[in-house]
Symmetry: C2
Subunit: 197 residues, 2 copies
């Protein structure tokens, strides 16, 4: 399938999801919106869950750049600003929030959400590989936990607390995690405790 | 209203939400499940959104203990283990995930979710006040950001990534945030950069 045609279909899928919810999303609706024959869509995606899974990973509206700023701090700040933009700037935010929110209550959609996060994490890994080569983190550091903490914070603040992201929220979050928020004198602080624990 | 009767109503509300979703939740259904007259319920809660908002904050099934272990590290680890339990142990997990997932797509429910997180945060504040008195954090530390990072990580890992929580995931997350994951030699690391930035 031609890439442009495919993107029309995937974009129509995400738009309809944001407008009508997962229940209201149909292959027929996607065919109508994208101007592509229903049977053509079924030939490539056997179900609306498959179509949505593909849309979450391949649609241009959810695409993101993997930064390479020269430092882990800079890369994480850029990644997190991107996540914040994704969750606050329409139309991507409507789509992302609708899809991932709905995923919680639909096993089909949950698979799509899981694949979405796995795909993003795979693409974020070079940030951590470069940081290891530069000596900014060591082998004991868990990249997925770092992304869970940072992306989770943005999600919680924007979607659940519904508080605006302070302009510096994402940068402060990255700094807090890299530098630590405990005072150096905190009993139990320090790397040996963390590594051994 | 007698506390026990109120809890029956609120519990029925959360059960029906988990079983039928927000669309399927009705005051009539809550009346049937709880054995309380519909008009009585309407007298106390004018809408199902109001009822659900009350349920998220006051139902015993979502209750949590605010720890006082003697250290910020211990308190945060206990809080986060509680969040992990809430999101992974039925029936609370069914209710919490259904309610908060649905909140994303319903303005009524979004208000309830916002109130739920605001209530929890208000109850978590003493943990940070005690930590300040003990000198474990200083005035520049942002308690809500700490909770966003930690609770967001658990949410993302369990609900979106659908990965099991390693037994030590919550403790490691707390340690990472208190101690920092950057190596001390990382350019740009250190408290002055964080405070001044």
């Amino acid at each position: 399938m031609a890439p442009r045609k495919k993107d029309h279909i995937l974009t129509a899928t995400l738009e309809l999801l944001a407008e009508k919810g997962y229940e209201g999303l149909t292959i027929e609706g996607v065919a109508g919106r994208s101007g592509v024959n229903k049977t053509t869509i079924y030939r490539w995606w056997p179900s609306k869950a498959a179509l949505l899974g593909s849309a979450l990973i391949d649609a241009r509206v959810l695409d993101f750049e993997v930064p390479d700023t020269g430092s882990l701090r800079g890369d994480l700040q850029a990644l997190l600003r991107g996540t914040a933009r994704l969750l606050t700037t329409p139309p991507a935010s409507d789509v992302a929030v609708a899809a991932l929110g709905a995923a919680v209550n639909s096993p089909d959609l949950a698979m799509a959400a899981k694949a979405f996060f796995a795909d993003r994490f795979a693409r974020e890994m070079p940030v951590f590989e470069r940081a290891r080569e530069r000596g900014e983190i060591d082998e004991s550091t868990d990249p997925m936990m770092i992304m869970d903490l940072l992306a989770g914070a943005v999600w919680l603040r924007v979607v659940f607390r519904q508080l605006p992201l302070d302009e510096d929220f994402t940068d402060r979050s990255v700094n807090a995690l890299l530098d630590g928020v405990g005072r150096p004198g905190d009993p139990g602080a320090g790397r040996p405790a963390r590594r051994g624990g």
